[in-house]
């Protein structure tokens, strides 16, 4: 008979270096994708501020228009497009549809999702510009 003393379970220590994401291009792009949420959130908060300013009345209403805001928007657009590209591309992996027992190729699903993006952008852009008249 052996008497083994069981050691108390040890907690697994997380030993990743703080800048692990800088080691490989794929790691960096992953973190970049996750980070896109921050600038997009900030921009939407700016939009809410602009909507709130509509309550100031016609004489005190001032839309965002400074060069800083435009520069900020250019940066946010880059992040937003990267989010759109990476997130919508996933549809080809996630969505599995069958028509008459035949699976729809993932390429067709991705094309449909990107097509929806294009149509939705055109509609929103049209409304924003059309209602300025």
């Amino acid at each position: 008979m052996t008497t083994e003393v069981q050691a108390a379970p040890r907690e697994y220590g997380w030993r990743m270096p703080a800048v692990w994401w800088a080691r490989q291009r794929h790691y960096f792009l992953y973190m970049l994708r996750e980070f896109t949420a921050v600038p997009m959130a900030l921009w939407l908060l700016w939009l809410l501020v602009e909507i709130q300013r509509a309550s100031n009345g016609p004489t005190h209403y001032s839309p965002h228009g400074s060069p800083w805001f435009v520069a900020f928007s250019v940066i946010v657009l880059g992040f937003a497009l990267y989010h759109s590209y990476t997130f919508l591309k996933l549809a080809g992996v996630i969505i599995r549809l069958k028509i008459f027992d035949r699976p729809i190729p993932s390429g067709a699903i991705v094309l449909a999702v990107f097509g929806t993006w294009a149509v939705a952008s055109a509609v929103v852009g049209f409304v924003l510009i059309w209602f300025s008249r």
Binding site: A37, Q52, A54, P58, F69, A80, T116
Partner: protein, 130 residues
């Protein structure tokens, strides 16, 4: 863990994953055009945009469909952002972001933004049906 607890469906996971994925799709499809048109083309006067002038902006914001659209865009997007930023912080090494207080802070933040959006949409411009 009891057998019953193990078999219990993770409804909170279902909810937050639903909000995360829908928010991801909605922000991916609708946000870039807002940033391009309202953030760049409008301020640079390349095109005229409704939000540049009070009258046209109020006309648009008074429409109930526009209010619902903005609420959906902002609310779902912020649940997506909350989830992403929380895990971004975890990936940076701050494991406390996995805990319950962090979850309350991040998803609670999304709830606060949602309530603030409802208030701003209703208080800034009255609903106008025409």
């Amino acid at each position: 863990m009891s057998e019953a607890a193990r078999k219990r469906p993770a409804l909170d996971h279902l909810f937050f994953w639903f909000m995360f994925s829908q928010g991801g799709v909605i922000s991916a499809i609708f946000l870039p055009v807002h940033v391009l048109v309202q953030g760049i083309l409008g301020p640079l006067k390349i095109v005229t945009v409704a939000d540049r002038h009070y009258d046209t902006w109020v006309l648009l914001l008074g429409n109930p469909l526009v209010k619902i659209y903005i609420l959906v865009l902002v609310s779902f997007s912020f649940f997506h952002f909350a989830h992403r930023i929380r895990y971004f912080v975890v990936d940076l090494g701050l494991h406390a972001a996995k805990g319950l207080p962090a979850q309350v802070a991040f998803y609670g933040g999304a709830v606060v933004v949602t309530l603030a959006t409802i208030w701003i949409l209703l208080a800034s411009v009255p609903v106008r049906i025409w």
